[in-house]
């Protein structure tokens, strides 16, 4: 039995400790925000936070997490009461098919927990591990800039004016 700290609560799953976290989230705990994209750590659709740092849940064996806190997009807010990053993504309508977006939100949350005043280049390089095929990049960048401002900071030298 694996014990995990997820979104502030303790969850248990009877799985092989080698199972990547993503399968435990989706199949055992009913947390569907993190998505399967490649299983190879190449696309970022599965990104969640482990102790505030973005990780590829498709690769991380659940047995290796220990007591570290896992945060998924479900833990950041709900449709009725979205968190600041989710709110910023909604305000910018940053999504087309939306499949990559939970990974994007997790990655942006990780960045903003580290600094609320990143430079434009820091934002772009922090987001770079996550792929979007719809080309929603401009809106995602606008959402990150908006979220940084909403947290009392702001992106330095933004490439587009912040709304």
């Amino acid at each position: 039995m694996i014990k995990l700290k997820i979104n502030g609560a303790v969850a248990r799953a009877d799985v092989d400790p080698a199972t990547p976290l993503l399968y435990v989230l989706r199949d055992d705990l009913g947390l569907h925000a993190a998505k399967f994209g490649c299983g190879l750590g190449q696309c970022g659709s599965c990104t969640v936070l482990v102790d505030d740092r973005p990780v590829f849940a498709c690769l991380l064996p659940v047995g290796a997490i220990g007591t570290r806190a896992v945060t998924t997009v479900e833990g950041l807010g709900t449709a009725e009461a979205p968190g600041t990053v989710q709110r910023a993504f909604l305000d910018e309508q940053a999504g087309q098919c939306g499949y990559c977006i939970p990974g994007m939100i997790a990655r942006a949350e990780g960045l903003l927990r580290r600094t609320t005043t990143p430079t434009e280049e820091e934002v772009r390089s922090a987001m770079a591990p996550s792929l979007c095929r719809c080309g929603t990049h401009m809106r995602i960048l606008r959402a990150v800039r908006r979220a940084a401002a909403a947290r009392g900071g702001g992106v330095v030298d933004p490439a587009e004016p912040v709304a």
Binding site: L31, Q93, G95, T136, H137
Partner: protein
């Protein structure tokens, strides 16, 4: 028909087929068959399904259910169609329940493709809603003994302005919507509209952004099992498997085999993923269709071809050409590259097979699956559930066929079958490689007086219409034959989409060389042939402008007489600051324009691009586009699509080429098929939407692909003096970030 629809809504699946299949173009010509037009006087798909209750029903509690045969692919059509229905009907957006493509419930609108959802379904829903609103007003008028024109509607009620009011729910209880729509019912007056033309937030995003189940991938039915299909590494191969060894693997509860089709089934996903990797130990052999195209693009010129002249105008035989240019442009095979691999859920229960699928065409898929399983059409139901964005025909239909074959072997048990990343890359049909050869002459005044465009291409649609079009259909024994490829005729066109210039050239000839033999599996990719044809045409216009010593924007305007084309070009150039642009070393501007399909949206785009020679790096400093999609239902939705189209086309055009070795794939994941990342995204993108209230919807989804490609090549030519005519541009040494 009414009875059967009620039965369906009551949970009992009853066949919902109003008419026999007949040839009709749906989805930009990509789908075959489809219901016949029975009411040609009605607009959009109302012409095929004229009864109001095919589109709109009002429940006793006042909730309104709207039916569309189109699907949400991430383009925002759920929001736009709900806006149209709510506004024309005069109810709050939140009162609308929208049912998208479900063969048991919705009108057969063929394939969701070709940027035609609003034109076909949106037009039908808007006019059906206007009809229903009028019927409700007439019912109230009868009840009160007044004339309907003295009444008005507001937020789900009919009012007489003197204190009497009655709810739609009340009126609907005694009102049949099983009546033909009338062609003469006016749409709402523009000044009375509350939702159409407004940037209403997407109705689907809150769930997607907070982790609520939103995709077919997220479906978890009670008792559901997982499955993975066993295949060779990619199209053109056949896997070899040690099934006895596979059956012993932990987590593999069952192996379902039909001919060479095989799938492993278990209750947990991760053991199946491991088993899938273990299965590769058996190796593979070349499949029956593996044949090498030879080096591109020359291989295209050597293939068997069927040539058609699709434009041949000689309006000015007296023109005197003084300078002639010709150039050749080509693109490689491209991948759709959905971020989520294809997935489907299927359940065979009570003799009915239900397949939840992210296919773009649930109706043709249903026919293909019914044939595959030798089941009557009435006992197969395909229900759309969203997937990751597809941008055309990817693995969505194939995986639905796979899931169906497994489910039929396991009655009563829901089966969720998901491809691996490697399978999606290895088996999805590619966007076809293409080659275009252009030749034109200028007269002494610098006008283009003669034009020739020839294009060589495979088919742009192998979308399934029969069992043999699904991978599983080719693996059962005996295998089903694939539907022979056919060119998509003009005015939509396939390989020749947008090959006919919109410019007014006095003499013009366009020849479409259709290549029926496919060395690799190909099908529809966003924009079909428009990407390469517009890249070629709009690059060549710049080359001619340069030869004539004219400004590229002024040169385009001098050859156009369509006022809406002139308007988008003017707007994009003005917003970009084209006239005041100052080039600097290794930095230049590029422009391009097209009207998608020559009858869809108008789009003009200007790019400001820098080439960093030491690093071989491209920086798109600014992209500015103007778009006219007709009446804008949701301007921000249009901006979202065009922004995305620009970014995606930059990725295709600058980087992408599917690797082939002897006709077989060499790309199985993102490591060898890189796509644009955040560091490569433009610094800034601005989209100007030109709204045309009252004008027909022209669609938006695909209009940016071609112009962006040409604008990039034109900007690079301006920045560096070197022109890229062979895609991807990165092959010549330039790359982003």
């Amino acid at each position: 028909m009414i009875a059967s629809r009620r039965d369906v809504l009551g949970g009992l699946v009853v066949a919902f087929s109003l008419a026999p299949a007949a040839l009709a173009q749906t989805g930009g010509g990509e789908g075959r068959g489809g219901p016949p037009t029975v009411a040609p006087e009605l607009p959009g798909t109302l012409a095929k399904f004229p009864d109001l209750d095919a589109w709109i029903r009002i429940a006793p509690d006042g909730r309104v259910t709207v039916f569309t045969g189109k699907v949400e692919l991430g383009t925002g059509i759920k929001t736009a169609i709900a806006q149209l229905a709510a506004d024309e009907l005069d109810v709050a957006l939140g009162r609308i329940d929208l049912i998208t493509a479900d063969t048991g419930l919705t009108p057969n609108e063929g394939v969701t493709a070709g940027s035609q959802t609003l034109e076909q379904s949106g037009t039908a829903v808007a006019n059906a809603a206007a009809n229903v609103r009028l019927l409700l007003a007439e019912a109230a008028a009868t009840r009160w003994g007044v004339v309907a024109t003295d009444l008005f509607t507001r937020d789900g009620e009919v009012l007489d302005g003197r204190g009497r009011r009655v709810s739609y729910a009340d009126l609907a209880a005694s009102l049949s919507l099983a009546v033909h729509a009338r062609a003469d019912v006016p749409r709402k007056r523009r000044d009375a509209r509350r939702l159409i033309g407004r940037s209403v937030p997407r109705v689907d995003l809150p769930a997607k952004l907070t982790g609520l189940a939103a995709y077919v991938h997220d479906m978890r039915l009670p008792g559901m099992v997982h499955a993975r299909v066993l295949r060779g590494p990619g199209s053109g191969t056949r896997g070899r498997f040690d099934f006895a060894a596979m059956a012993r693997l932990s987590g593999v509860d069952r192996i379902v085999r039909r001919g060479t089709f095989a799938a492993i089934v278990g209750t947990r996903e991760w053991p199946l993923e491991r088993a899938l990797h273990a299965a590769a130990r058996g190796g593979w052999q070349a499949g029956p269709d593996a044949n090498a195209p030879g080096p591109l693009p020359e291989a295209l010129l050597r293939m068997r071809r069927e040539s058609r002249t699709i434009e041949d105008r000689h309006d000015d035989p007296h023109a005197v050409p003084v300078r002639r240019l010709s150039a050749r442009y080509d693109r490689p095979y491209l991948m759709h590259g959905a971020i989520g691999p294809s997935c489907a859920v299927a359940l065979f229960e009570n003799d009915v097979l239900t397949v939840w699928t992210h296919s773009q065409g649930v109706e043709p898929l249903r026919a293909a699956i019914a044939e595959l399983l030798a089941m009557p059409l009435e006992r197969v139901r395909c229900v759309h559930r969203e997937g990751a964005g597809c941008y055309g025909h990817n693995g969505a239909d194939d995986v639905a066929g796979d899931a169906a074959l497994v489910a039929i072997a396991m009655p009563g048990i829901p089966v969720r079958l998901q491809w691996s990343r490697e399978q999606e890359h290895g088996w999805e049909p590619l966007g076809p490689a293409m080659l275009a050869w252009l030749d034109a002459s200028l007269d002494a005044s610098g006008r283009i007086v003669a034009w020739q465009h020839q294009v060589w291409s495979n088919t742009h649609s192998t979308r399934p219409s029969a069992a043999g079009d699904l991978l599983a259909g080719q693996e059962v024994i005996p295998p089903f034959p694939a539907t022979p490829p056919e060119p998509i005729p003009q005015p939509n066109g396939g390989g020749d989409r947008n090959a006919i210039p919109l410019y007014r050239f006095p003499n013009s000839q366009v020849v479409s060389h259709f290549l029926p033999d496919m060395p690799v599996r190909v099908s529809a990719l966003r924009g079909l042939g428009a990407h390469l044809n517009i890249f070629a045409l709009e690059s060549f216009i710049d080359e001619l402008a340069d030869a004539a010593g004219r400004d590229p924007v002024a040169f385009r305007l001098a050859h156009l007489d369509d006022p809406r084309a002139i308007a988008v070009i003017g707007r994009a150039a003005a917003q970009f600051g084209w006239q005041h642009y100052r080039p600097s070393p290794n930095r230049g501007r590029g422009f391009a324009f097209a009207r998608y399909k020559n009858h869809g949206a108008y789009l003009a785009v200007a790019l400001d691009v820098e080439f960093v020679p030491d690093e071989g790096r491209l920086i798109v400093h600014r992209a500015v586009a103007a778009v006219d999609s007709g009446e804008a239902v949701n301007p921000d939705g249009i901006r979202n699509q065009v922004e995305g189209g620009i970014v995606q086309s930059l990725s295709w055009t600058a980087y992408e080429a599917a690797g082939l070795d002897g006709g077989r794939r060499t790309d199985y994941d993102w490591s060898t098929y890189p796509i644009l990342r955040f560091g490569d995204a433009p610094r800034s993108v601005v989209i100007d939407v030109i709204d045309r209230p009252g004008a027909p919807f022209l669609g938006t989804g695909e209009c940016a692909q071609g112009p962006t490609a040409a604008a990039l090549a034109n900007a690079l030519a301006a920045a560096t003096g070197t022109r890229s005519r062979s895609l991807p541009i990165a092959r010549a040494g330039a790359r982003f970030a």
